[in-house]
Symmetry: C2
Subunit: 116 residues, 2 copies
């Protein structure tokens, strides 16, 4: 009687074993999503969706975060009224050692080369 | 008079500086294309399209090779009547050091985990 039901505001995430490389690569194949992941990687903790100043509409931003969550790249949790986002670095590093760092390094190199 | 025109059968490839990380990740976000890249990485030299036994139609196979070529992942050249394929490993390693190996390792780990 005292155990709370799972809140309707809990967002679905794939378990670590359900994460697929192809889905992860698809999620990162979009420039906005790659940018979000770079910002999360450089942050000291979670960031709220409103911390990102992306040149797209709010609904498109929401879509991008959802793709990142559903592919297993980020974890999204409600804290009060804010949706907070964090990289699933531990899960990804265990599944695919070295991959996230190689992707972040590649993104940084490309940004430096193109002035992005 | 003696310099031959570029043959109409030469296939267009992006120059190294035109390769984009997002395009590369999109190219590798498909299971068939990831499989093609794994086979090319494990081959000692070029492979012809007909060396691949993929569970898709010939036209779909052609499409996948085209996506890989246009994103800068592979080089395709005609040798006689065969279209030969090779990874652009040197270009990719120079642009994004360590990325191709991390991707191949991740794909191998996933295949081992899922029995693929």
């Amino acid at each position: 009687m005292s155990s709370p039901a799972v809140g309707s505001r809990d967002l679905p995430h794939p378990a670590s074993g359900e994460v697929r490389l192809e889905g992860l690569l698809h999620a990162l194949s979009d420039p906005m999503r790659l940018r979000i992941v770079r910002e999360l990687a450089g942050a000291s903790g979670e960031l709220s969706c409103s911390d990102f100043d992306l040149p797209v509409t709010k609904s498109t931003t929401t879509h991008h975060f959802r793709v990142l969550r559903e592919s297993g790249v980020i974890r999204q949790v409600y804290r009060g009224t804010a949706k907070m986002n964090g990289l699933r670095r531990d899960d990804l590093d265990e599944l695919f050692p070295g991959l996230l760092d190689a992707l972040l390094d590649a993104a940084a190199r490309q940004a430096a080369r193109l002035g992005g």
